[in-house]
């Protein structure tokens, strides 16, 4: 059995296990065991990957498994990983693991909840291991749909509206992606021969420019929607605010990363020429995303909205960095994805925990929580600091890499855009500190809150897991960065051929 296929198999088995179980308590245990295994497995994968690289394996992708699926269309079940996907897989398993514990208290339709949640995770894992456009697309859609149920059934507020909006917008994105994929496929053999869905094969040929001009924007925008590209980000705030805790975590933490990853892996990797020509349009859009998201976050009153807009800003930075098309910036983009994934998951986990205690998410109605629930509050502060890019946390590493990379462009346009994007670190500080100040610090405003209890053990598991990885990456970014750097080589060499700068 290929180790990568296990990433899809284990969730499926877990789901099967959950289906068979009657006792609601055991459901959680099975879910956590399954996802714990998954976490171990991804640790193993990282280990295997790194040791294979050390052993001198220089193949573009490792652990490749390629099974012909639909022969006549040349559709394969093809999986393989490079450093980037390994990193993303690691992120996913961490967030899912934390997510399971964050939803420990769920009472309503527990079984169904965990099934949907793990199904979502299956889609995400599948997406990251796929190197076949078809399977990739399949897993993408697989990941989107459980969101609807998760938000619709277990959500809060205008959940039906949000769930529908989110689903439809994401499916709209997938429409663009589908057309893009088909376009890539049918242009993957410009000199005749077999047309392919395989990313590696396609990356070796040059798709005709005419096709690239059409399909690059399609795929990029398609994935960009998921990555909260302005102005297609509006599903995100509503979706986040209505989603239950674990779903927000997974959603912002992982699902939005499908966007960045896909934009990188499909749009940029396969069509670097068009990317190079058209990047400026999207750079403007992403720069707007970055600043706009941050500014919007300043005036929000709902914790989840703040975070959602913050995600818009941070994910905008991911796309921004990808578009810079050099190794450093792209490296930063990947790190940013992981970093943002972890910290936003942490944020949402904490918001969920706070909400379950105070039953409100409006910051104005809360205050002085630091005194009553110090553990959660400290975690919140840590998340906030990570989010505003404090050294020692992963956010700093990511942002600095991005800015350093983006600044490698000698021309004025890129630099001005970079500087505009850099301003976001200040705006981020403003809204993060504002929330911390209102929410946690100051005197306790509501006497009912005096009796709140601090984190339970499962909540601690959830938050500590996330924090430890945030800190770990923040303190020792070198190996992660180098793992990713190596994997960026193929695309970089392709781009360098275009634009020796």
């Amino acid at each position: 059995m290929n180790i990568l296929s296990l990433f899809v198999l284990i969730p499926v088995l877990t789901i099967t296990g959950i289906v068979l179980i009657k006792d609601m308590r055991q459901v959680k245990i099975v879910a956590s065991i399954g996802m714990g295994l998954q976490l171990l497995l991804s640790a193993l994968l990282i280990f295997l990957y790194v040791s294979a690289r050390h052993a001198g394996d220089t193949a573009e992708m490792l652990f490749i498994k390629d099974i012909v699926w639909f022969k006549s269309l040349n559709i394969h079940y093809a999986v393989g990983v490079d450093g980037i996907s390994v990193a993303m897989i690691g992120l996913t398993s961490i967030v899912v693991f934390a997510g399971i514990f964050a939803s420990w208290e769920l009472e309503f339709l527990t079984k169904e909840f965990f099934i949907s949640l793990i199904l979502l995770a299956t889609g995400v894992f599948g997406f990251f291991i796929s190197i076949d456009l078809f399977t990739m697309f399949l897993f993408y859609e697989l990941a989107v749909i459980p969101m609807y149920l998760l938000i619709g059934i277990w959500g809060s507020g205008p959940k039906e509206y949000s769930a529908m909006k989110l689903t439809l917008m994401l499916m709209g994105a997938s429409a663009l992606i589908l057309v893009g994929i088909l376009g890539i496929h049918f242009n993957s053999a410009p000199d005749g021969g077999q047309m392919s869905f395989n990313i590696l094969e396609i990356s070796r040929i040059k798709i005709p420019m005419k096709a690239q001009y059409i399909f690059f924007p399609l795929t990029f925008v398609g994935f960009g929607v998921l990555g909260a590209l302005f102005p297609f980000h509006t599903w995100s705030p509503d979706g986040h605010s209505s989603a239950p805790t674990a779903v927000s975590m997974l959603h912002a933490g992982v699902l939005m990363k499908l966007g960045g990853y896909g934009a990188f892996r499909v749009a940029m990797f396969l069509m670097p020429e068009a990317a190079h020509e058209l990047a400026w349009i999207f750079i403007i859009l992403t720069t707007i995303s970055v600043v706009y998201g941050a500014f919007s976050a300043i005036v929000q009153k709902d914790l989840k909205y703040i975070n959602a807009y913050s995600s818009v800003s941070h994910c905008g930075l991911v796309l921004f960095a990808i578009l810079m098309m050099n190794q450093t910036a792209m490296n930063g983009a990947i790190i940013q994805m992981i970093s943002h994934g972890l910290m936003t998951a942490l944020f949402f986990a904490l918001i969920g925990m706070i909400y379950s205690r105070t039953h409100t998410r409006l910051i104005n109605e809360m205050g002085g929580l630091m005194k009553v629930i110090p553990f959660l509050s400290v975690c919140y502060v840590i998340a906030g600091l990570a989010s505003l890019g404090l050294p020692g946390f992963s956010g700093f590493v990511a942002e600095m890499t991005i800015f350093a990379g983006a600044f490698q462009h000698p021309d004025l346009f890129h630099r001005i855009m970079t500087i505009i994007a850099i301003t976001s670190i200040v705006i981020t500080a403003v809204y993060i500190l504002r929330v911390i100040a209102i929410l946690l610090l100051g005197p306790a405003t509501n006497e009912h809150y005096e009796h709140l209890t601090d984190a339970k053990w499962y909540e601690k598991v959830s938050t500590i897991t996330l924090i430890s990885f945030i800190v770990f990456i923040g303190l020792a970014p070198f190996w992660l960065s180098s793992m990713i750097r190596g994997s960026l080589q193929p695309i970089i060499s392709k781009i360098l051929a275009l634009n020796p700068f």
Partner: protein, 473 residues
């Protein structure tokens, strides 16, 4: 008639025999043993279905009137499977007291429409095609009007029969033009002579209109919703799945084998009607409350997607359309099966009456969910694969804009499918439909549908087989 010829025609012949056998049984059956007629018929039909899958020679009979090749065999087998499912699903309904006295007629009529479809698919001549078409339509009108005590059923019957006779008039008028300009009605001969003269295009358009009526392509679709709503649920499912599927099959055959020379023209026509069909179907579906009506519009938009697959005129297109019909049969029958079960047990057919269904009837809700997701093209269900292949086929010939429109339309359709999902899973209801246990045939049929939805997608062999037997223009 030798054995080979028999084997060539076995689908039709066996069905005729079946129809006659049922007639005979009916004559000898006492009023008590009538209920076993259903069992008998279904077993008989199951046998026929299996026999249909036996390997078979191919060739033409009756001087080209009748033609069998692997593609057509597959089409017939697919229709058989679908019909078998419909038959199994109908048992509950037939066992109701008010339908008790005409069980065998139901089977005879249904089987004879299937005979008509089979002949239609095997046609090598427009006369056979026409007769098959009529044989496939007229009894259905009677079936639609089957519930004599029901106003809506009668209305559905009259609407269906009148519009279908008009449309066959139009189709015939087109055929006269085809005949007039080529001097023949044999498919293979017409194929070589049919060009792009104005009159020939006019003939094609009239012919197309007649066919489009059967497939419910906009603007020839307006009967669909009313008939679907009025007809008994099982007939509706038969209409929306088998009848439409057969029409699509013959439509492919005709387009690919008879009109290859005017492909440019029919591609344009299909382009326009595909866009219209998807969009209009979806726009109407959004606001439906009655599930049958809702599914009618959904099936209209599905027809639009099918046209998208057809437009390339390539092998993949043909394969994907056939495959999609198979998938569509499973998915739609799963949905209809649930609707029928609830309608038969509780008489409820409105979406808001389904509110909170999951709490009381989780099994049915899940089946419905899977069916709807498959229809909506959500992985890992077969509908996803089906749609993907359809769009691939269109994209192969560069119809990217059409594909984009189609995919955007799938979003609208996903929207209204999700409305049903929402009703079942999310909406609160103080008094949801009570818990009830559906009987064995229903569960069997639903089980098969679900298996089909799941397996058809993953098991690439099915698509490959179809692909290998398909051909392009």
């Amino acid at each position: 008639m030798n054995l080979v010829n028999f084997s060539l025609m076995r689908h039709e012949l066996l069905l005729v025999v079946a129809a006659l056998l049922i007639l005979i049984v009916e004559i000898f059956a006492s009023s008590k043993s009538r209920k076993s007629i259903s069992l008998f018929s279904i077993v008989l039909f199951a046998v026929i279905t299996i026999v249909g899958f036996l390997p078979s020679p191919t060739g033409t009979l009756f001087g080209g009137m009748y033609e069998v090749n692997n593609t057509r065999l597959i089409m017939k087998n697919i229709l058989n499977i679908g019909s078998l499912l419909v038959l199994i699903q109908s048992v509950t309904w037939l066992n109701k007291d008010e339908n008790h006295d005409k069980i065998s007629e139901y089977f005879i009529l249904l089987v004879s429409t299937l005979i008509g479809m089979n002949f239609m698919i095997s046609a090598g001549h427009f006369l056979m095609f026409y007769l098959g078409l009529e044989l496939a339509t007229i009894p259905i009108a009677a079936l639609a009007a089957y519930e004599r005590y029901n106003n809506k059923s009668a209305e559905a019957g009259i609407k269906l029969i009148l519009i279908s006779s008009l449309s066959s008039g139009v189709l015939l008028y087109g055929l006269t033009m085809i005949y007039g300009t080529t001097g023949t009605l044999y498919f293979n001969e017409v194929a070589q002579l049919y060009g792009n003269e104005n009159l020939q295009i006019l003939g094609f358009i009239f012919f197309f209109s007649g066919m489009a009526f059967k497939i419910s392509i906009v603007p020839f679709h307006l009967w669909t919703a009313d008939v679907y709503e009025g007809a008994p649920v099982n007939i509706t499912s038969y209409l929306s799945v088998i009848s439409k599927g057969a029409a699509v099959f013959i439509f492919i055959i005709v387009l690919f084998t008879v009109f290859p020379l005017i492909i440019i023209t029919w591609q344009k026509i299909i382009y326009v009607s595909a866009v219209l069909t998807m969009t209009i179907g979806n726009l109407f579906a959004i606001r439906q409350q009655n599930l049958k009506r809702f599914l009618a519009f959904s099936s209209i938009s599905q027809a639009g997607y099918i046209l998208v697959g057809l437009i390339g005129g390539n092998q993949i297109g043909m394969a994907s359309v056939i495959y999609y019909i198979l998938v569509y049969i499973f998915s739609n029958l799963a949905v209809f099966g649930v609707v029928a079960a609830i309608s038969n047990a509780k008489g409820k057919e409105n979406i808001d009456e389904y509110n909170g269904l999951y709490k009381t009837n989780p099994g049915l809700s899940l089946v419905m969910l899977l069916g709807l997701f498959s229809l909506g093209g959500i992985p890992p269900f077969a509908g996803f694969f089906g749609k993907f292949f359809l769009f691939t086929a269109a994209a192969q010939n560069g119809y990217y804009i059409l594909v984009l429109i189609a995919v955007l339309n799938t979003i609208i359709s996903l929207y209204y499918y999700l409305l049903v999902v929402k009703a079942m899973f999310i909406n609160n209801n103080e008094a949801p439909i009570e818990k009830f246990r559906s009987d064995f045939p229903t569960r069997l049929a639903l089980g098969i549908c679900i298996a089909g939805i799941v397996i058809t997608g993953f098991a690439s062999i099915i698509f490959e087989v179809i692909k290998n037997m398909s051909f392009g223009v």
